[in-house]
Symmetry: C2
Subunit: 240 residues, 2 copies
């Protein structure tokens, strides 16, 4: 279930205000969270010595804080105790939109951009908790069934945290948007839907005999949409 306290909108500032196609934008916290929680991969933008980096990485959300694993920024962050500005973006492609003019060709999508200050998680307990969270957020209840995290693994893991200061969602979810006069042209137009789906589970060939699949695998049935499964996983993780 989506958290009921999640009702406030994010503040609108020059940083997160949707400029291009602003009518597709929203600052609603639940709308932003629903787009984030439907994803496993994001892109994080940092600046290192004036150079921007867009790094694709797994991420997870806990309340209003986003987490991800170490990256090219972690060396920089070690020297920046106050943190550094970052932008974490998620985008889902939902359809290809073929119009009667080149100009009106488009795509259906759901995207969210989040802005904040990224900091290194350095406290050892906080880090071990985050390492459990990333498992349980995607696979509810799984961390308790695993071989425990060793202190060496915690040392070798870099985790970055970013409270969301500002965010915006942007969505296009409709049919062909041709100019009114163009609808009369004898040109084919339409939408090709796109979905990201799960395949049949490939059990590890080295599984110990007799080990049964865990219950939470039921969240990932073959043919299901990935976004639906990930949303359900986040809900189960928040309810636990």
């Amino acid at each position: 279930m989506r958290a009921e306290t999640d009702t406030a909108a994010y503040p609108i500032t020059p940083r997160n205000r949707v400029k291009r196609m602003h009518e597709r934008g929203s600052y609603d916290r639940q709308a932003v969270h629903a787009i984030l929680d439907a994803a496993m991969l994001c892109n994080v933008a940092y600046v290192i010595d004036g150079q921007p980096y867009a790094t694709p990485t797994l991420f997870w959300r806990k309340g209003d804080t986003l987490y991800w694993h170490g990256s090219s920024a972690s060396r920089m962050l070690r020297h920046l105790k106050a943190g550094t500005p970052a932008c974490l973006t998620v985008a889902h492609l939902d359809g290809l939109v073929l119009a009667r003019s080149g100009f009106n060709h488009s795509a259906n999508y759901r995207s969210a951009m989040c802005f904040g200050t990224a900091r290194l998680v350095e406290d050892s307990d906080e880090k071990i908790e985050a390492m459990r969270d990333v498992v349980d957020r995607f696979y509810p209840g799984r961390s308790a069934l695993l071989r425990p995290i060793t202190s060496q693994e915690a040392k070798a893991t870099t985790i970055i945290a970013m409270p969301i200061d500002e965010a915006a969602a942007k969505v296009r979810a409709k049919g062909v948007g041709d100019d009114e006069a163009d609808f009369a042209l004898p040109i084919w137009a339409g939408v090709i839907p796109v979905t990201t789906v799960l395949g049949a589970v490939e059990t590890c060939p080295r599984l110990v005999e007799g080990v049964e699949p865990p219950e939470m695998l039921g969240l990932f049935p073959p043919g299901a949409r990935l976004d639906t499964s990930l949303l359900a996983g986040q809900d189960a993780y928040e309810d636990a």
Copy 2:
């Protein structure tokens, strides 16, 4: 067909060198292009007044130059004739990897990061050519069948170009990578494959009677993988 001249590797510099999990990295031009060409959506990172932005957007490749539509950076670019450093990233999620320890949980993916200097396309002919290219790259031969681009549309369109100076691909495509000792544990492990697929075409309800679907729709059969269709589209566009 993949271009045969595409053989040289990109130079390796501190900017594009793969640091985390470097054994998954490659600087091979064909490997980078194959990951780019399998995608429609990318993330572009810019810096504006010290703030990084990761903007999700459609993009296309022509030779060694990447193009995308205007964004929050276009206002800035208008004032920066020499261009500005940017990073364009593509990531495909191919599978969820559930290991016997939290530490070895992972994902299968293909990603490409490209670095260069982004500039505004201001020449009107170059802009109209780019507006045709983006249609033909995704839908080979389609621009010739459409209502032509108007000069007003060209004026209203912002296009950004970035020759690729450096790039890196990073791929994980394998099963569970547990520690050797952990394989003996009675814990379930496996991979859940993820694919992005096409649905049945939704023809525009306002289509003029008797208009037939274009031949290139054959590149997008229902149930096909999006990445396969997009790669085939790029090949047909390059061969045209």
